[in-house]
């Protein structure tokens, strides 16, 4: 029953090691998976896209006229401003199969831009230009939701994307 201190410590050391190694291998393996999916699948997070004076948003060429612009066949750009408690534009129409690029900024407090199930999830900060992009294949109506608390009527701040059947 009674074993020497030397022997006991060695045994435990192996047990400890038996857990330490997988404890390193699991996060490293996950990081590799993360790198592969992030870069392989071409998922982009918003980065540093420049700034805009929140008091003079309309002076910036991107936000002079908020709206939807077709920049190439099947490629649309949404130039969007967020303000309490609305998006401009608040209704966006694109044909099915389009890639939509969102450029967004806020005129007042922090807002958010969330289109569920389409990887559009970005913070809209006053002073910063946010970018997000997604592909819309299936015709239908999708909500655009402000997902950052922005005051007493935050829950009313929403818009929609209407993806229309492609006319042949």
């Amino acid at each position: 029953m009674e074993r020497g201190v030397e022997r006991r410590s060695t045994t435990i050391y192996l047990w400890e090691l038996a857990w330490i190694l997988p404890s390193i291998a699991i996060p490293v393996g996950m990081l590799v998976a993360l790198g592969v999916t992030a870069f392989g699948a071409g998922i982009h997070l918003t980065g540093d896209q420049g700034r805009v004076d929140p008091q003079h948003v309309a002076a910036h060429p991107l936000f002079k006229e908020p709206g939807v612009v077709e920049i190439a066949p099947g490629q649309y750009e949404v130039r969007l401003t967020a303000q309490i408690w609305s998006f401009a534009p608040n209704e966006i129409r694109v044909p099915a199969g389009s890639t939509v690029h969102f450029w967004a900024t806020s005129k007042d407090v922090i807002h958010g831009l969330l289109v569920p199930k389409h990887n559009i999830n970005v913070m809209v900060l006053p002073g910063q230009i946010a970018h997000a992009q997604a592909h819309f294949d299936t015709p239908g109506e999708y909500p655009i939701i402000c997902h950052e608390y922005c005051g007493i009527a935050h829950h009313t701040m929403a818009g929609k994307i209407i993806v229309e059947e492609r006319k042949r």
């Binding site: 993360l34 997070l45 309490i84 922090i110 909500p143 608390y149 929403a158």
Partner: protein, 542 residues
């Protein structure tokens, strides 16, 4: 351990419990709102809106309950573990009153609906200046706790030159050292941006810089909450389970790694923020996965320690030993159930931290589900378990009802098993967090089916909390019987004598922690701080 130190711990725990009471009560209102029950009109003018209630809920639970409980518990455990009193009991009481004063100053604008800005208080939402000033005083209080612990350690070290710092004291020191480094971001946000701005001295506080400084402290604050739970799981629970701590050196190693790695990873809360380069976000993603390593070490140490207890009690088999734990002890049952749900919290946390998957869950109800497994269960249910021995000990009376305590603990577990997965699923279906969903303009049909479950889970959690308070109040007032003895710290199978001396040195580890922070944060913070800032006027829009 002096009587004054016990009273100090009791004072902190009392304030923490009052905060928790307010926190769970407002939590009930939110859960009911989600389920479509109109509650707020009846609560006016005490609670003015869902967002007023939600700000209470966040501030009281994650800022006050946690911080006050930890500032009470850790010096108490450290002093016992050192076997000597705190370096300065006067400093300790001064700290307590400073923190209480800060809390009162925070509470006034909060109650007056002049600070409905959530516990994250992102500018340009602008609360009354007293809100920020009071919270800053609470943070300064936590630094004074660090100072007192460090001074106590020096006194102990002068008399014990060769020995390893006793484990519970060591872990408490690491927790407060980590937090004192990490809270620099919050302090800088308060002192340089938010307080001058709220007083009208500056025109604007840059929203991105403010967020960045907030999350500098905002992720490590999670470890400030969790490490005290780990201290209980590793230094007390093994003995409560009838076993031994598996490995003292492994526990120390994991804490040193938390000291080094807890802070330089806050951008994983800002993956979706414009104005921060993708490359730096990726660096923080890597460091977040690095901190998973000490978390797994902790997991292993804790489970192995529980297993030693269960086997000593006759447990057999690979899994079935689990049933042989002393489940009749509510303190142990609470903490083991907290651990079980925390496994889900850990896995969910990895999903949040994953650069790409974060796009699906960021700012959705998924995060709310996650936070209720971590701070809402791993931390809160563990702290409840601790109070089941601590409050009777401090009150000098036995726990009023063990059966009620067991029912409470299982109700919390059951309520959370309904509440949290439902919120996770709602988040995956695109439901935003921090939103009066019952009144949302865009309520989706695939959310409606699940929302009543949020209400059911929330009601069960509320009932559990009320049973908890009833039991503690009756323990402190009418409990009869002999005063319970203080819990003893667990012995370790592989004891401190196997811990290498370099684990007991402070300067290299703190230097390494600071160096990593500089690498991870300096380029971005300097860039943001030196840009000409726009005037972003503050707004009160609630």
């Amino acid at each position: 351990m002096t009587r004054s130190e016990e009273r100090l711990a009791a004072a902190y725990v009392f304030v923490a419990l009052v905060a928790l009471f307010g926190g769970v009560t407002t939590g009930l209102f939110q859960a009911l709102e989600y389920a479509g029950v109109e509650v707020y009109p009846k609560l006016d003018p005490v609670i003015r809106s869902h967002y007023h209630s939600l700000t209470y809920h966040g501030v009281l639970n994650v800022l006050v309950w946690t911080t006050f409980f930890i500032c009470g518990l850790l010096p108490f455990l450290a002093a016992r573990s050192f076997g000597q009193p705190l370096a300065s009991i006067r400093l300790a009481w001064g700290t307590f009153w400073l923190m209480v004063a800060g809390l009162v100053v925070t509470a006034i604008p909060l109650a007056a609906n002049a600070a409905t800005v959530m516990f994250t208080f992102y500018p340009p939402l602008k609360a009354h200046w007293a809100f920020y000033l009071g919270l800053t005083a609470v943070v300064v209080g936590t630094w004074l706790v660090t100072l007192n612990l460090a001074l106590t350690w020096r006194v102990w070290r002068a008399q014990n030159r060769e020995a390893r710092t006793p484990l519970a004291a060591f872990m408490s020191l690491v927790t407060f050292a980590m937090w004192s480094i990490a809270s620099a971001g919050l302090a800088a946000e308060m002192l340089f941006l938010v307080i001058p701005w709220s007083l009208g001295l500056t025109a604007g506080a840059d929203p991105l810089l403010a967020r960045t400084l907030f999350w500098f402290s905002g992720h490590p604050i999670v470890y400030f909450w969790l490490l005290p739970a780990y201290i209980s799981w590793e230094t007390l629970v093994p003995r409560q389970a009838g076993g031994r701590l598996f490995s003292d050196p492994l526990a120390r190693t994991s804490f040193i790694l938390f000291l080094v790695l807890s802070t330089p990873l806050g951008f994983h809360h800002q993956y979706t923020d414009p104005g921060i380069h993708q490359g730096w976000k990726l660096v923080h993603a890597f460091l977040t996965f690095a901190v998973f390593f000490p978390s797994l070490l902790t997991f292993f140490t804790v489970v192995a320690s529980l297993e030693s207890g269960a086997r000593a009690r006759g447990g057999k088999g690979w899994i079935t030993w689990f049933g042989k734990l002393p489940w009749g002890d509510p303190s142990l049952a609470a903490q083991v159930l907290a651990m079980i749900l925390f496994a889900g919290g850990g896995i969910g946390g990895l999903i949040n931290a994953s650069f790409n998957m974060n796009l699906i869950v960021h700012n959705t109800a998924y995060i709310v589900g996650h936070l209720h497994l971590t701070v809402g269960t791993a931390v809160t249910l563990t702290f409840m378990g601790i109070t089941y021995w601590l409050v009777p000990y401090l009150a000098g009376r036995p726990l009023w009802s063990r059966g009620l305590a067991l029912a409470q603990v299982w109700l919390w577990f059951g309520g959370m098993v309904i509440f949290s997965p439902t919120l996770h699923e709602l988040g995956l279906r695109g439901m935003p967090r921090r939103t009066a969903i019952g009144h949302a303009a865009y309520l989706q049909s695939d959310w409606k089916a699940l929302l009543p479950l949020v209400g059911v889970g929330g009601v069960i959690l509320f009932i559990s909390a009320m049973l908890y308070f009833v039991n503690l109040v009756l323990t402190a007032t009418v409990g009869r019987g002999p005063a319970p003895a203080m819990l003893a710290f667990a012995e370790a199978t592989s004891g401190p004598e196997y811990a290498p001396a370099f684990l007991d040195r402070w300067r290299p580890w703190i230097a390494l922690a600071v160096a990593l922070i500089v690498v991870a944060y300096a380029p971005t913070v300097l860039r943001l701080a030196t840009m000409t800032s726009f005037a972003v006027p503050g707004m009160r829009v609630w």
